[in-house]
Amino acid sequence: MNMAFKKFLGVFYGLLLIAVGYLLSQIGFFEFFMDPWEREDYIIKLYEHFELVLYSMSLAIITGVGCGILFSRERFKRFAPYAEYIAGLGQTIPTLAILALSMSLFGIGKTTAIFTLFVISIIPILRNTLVGLKEISPSLIDAAEGLGLRKRDILLKIELPNAMPIIITGIRVAFVINIGTAALGYLIGAGGLGEVIFTGIQVQETNRLLAGCLPVIFSALFIDYLLDILSLVLIPKGLQLQHSSTEGT
């Protein structure tokens, strides 16, 4: 019974895929890509989009994780609650508002867009790094000190691997938000796939709209999936069981 159901499900998915492909070809979605002018322009937009995402994201990961580590050291520990509070407050502020405010401060252009994306994606990363490093049980660090590890080794071998699941979740959330918000970069003149989407909305052209939306959606889903797999590699084996079992409940 179960096997038959599974086989039926496979056929169902196949039919669904064919139906979607047929619908897309009916509305001229593939013709959109056949047009050599459109295609050239489209590839530039795609490139611009991922340029925005990659620049801002790499800056945000370096700064966010770095600041998180800095605020968990003995010397700067007193600032950690403030940083956490600010990050929490930042998470409630809508992305479009951050975009609008930074545009009114720095004007339009690609730099402003990268700065905005940086601010938006640093918030979850910083927050999760702080939380992850804070929640390590002190007995683990005590044990490491008892073994005679130096401060740097404790950070690299004990603290970071233990905090890794939470940090990776933060990076995942930030990446997904970043890809979505990069589409808004068009509004302040940064180009990207947003240009295709917003033009599609304005001229009510469904295939242009879909050509903008689908890569954004699928790249977000793909990055989410990719980081899920990456976490299997980066999280130490001993923690994985515990991690998956807490997630399951």
């Binding site: 509305i27 407050l89 409630t92 502020i93 809508p94 992305t95 479009l96 508002a97 951050i98 609008a100 405010l101 545009m103 009114s104 997904v176 890809i179 979505g180 918000t181 589409a183 808004l184 509004l187 302040i188 947003g194 989407i197 917003f198 599609g200 909305i201 009510q204 469904t206 709209l209 879909l210 903008g212 939306c213 689908l214 954004v216 959606i217 977000a220 889903l221 989410d224 409940t249």
Partner: protein, 224 residues
Amino acid sequence: MFGFVDYIVKNFSEILILTGEHLTIVFISLFIAILIGIPAGILITNNEKAAKKVISLANIFMTMPSIALFGLMMPILSPLGYGLGMVPAVSALVLYNQLPIIRNTYVALKNIPRPILHAGRGIGLSNTSLLLQLKIPLALPYIISGIRNAAVMNIGIASIACYIGAGGLGVLIQQGINRLNYDMVIAGGVLVSLLAILMDLVLNYVEKKMTPEGIRTQKQKRGA
């Protein structure tokens, strides 16, 4: 720098209307999402396989970027005559809200300690009254915190919905960027942010009030 205050004072009545529109979108979609999400969260507590599937489906919707989901809603809804305006905005927001509401309901109901449930059975509660009188009151703070997340997120995404003609405070940002009227842009940005923070604070208060007396922590008791 503070020109935006002038702008707000001068256009107060219009801003009030836009705020009304914004809150209408937010609350309608939140209401529908609660109507779908909480029963779904309760239903999947008995079925672990279904729970995993439903939550991962909701997670997929959450992962989709907002403007792209709006864009996807338009061709789907336009044959019905609702391509632009409030309908695609609300339906996209309902999809977004499913994850926080369903997940929090599910996790809260799952994490009720066994002994409490056994005690409930022991005093002869039926399945329905066990759910209504014991499980839901105990899970309520957590469910409300899911609703709070959803509401704050709604305010942010509803401001993007102005680009598909749904109105709301995003109009200030949209028009301000088009006219390069920075006061207007800042006014829109500040008002949307304030609205989100206010919503967070109000629902935080509700969450604290709704926590049953018995499971309040000492700090909450002193605070209340």
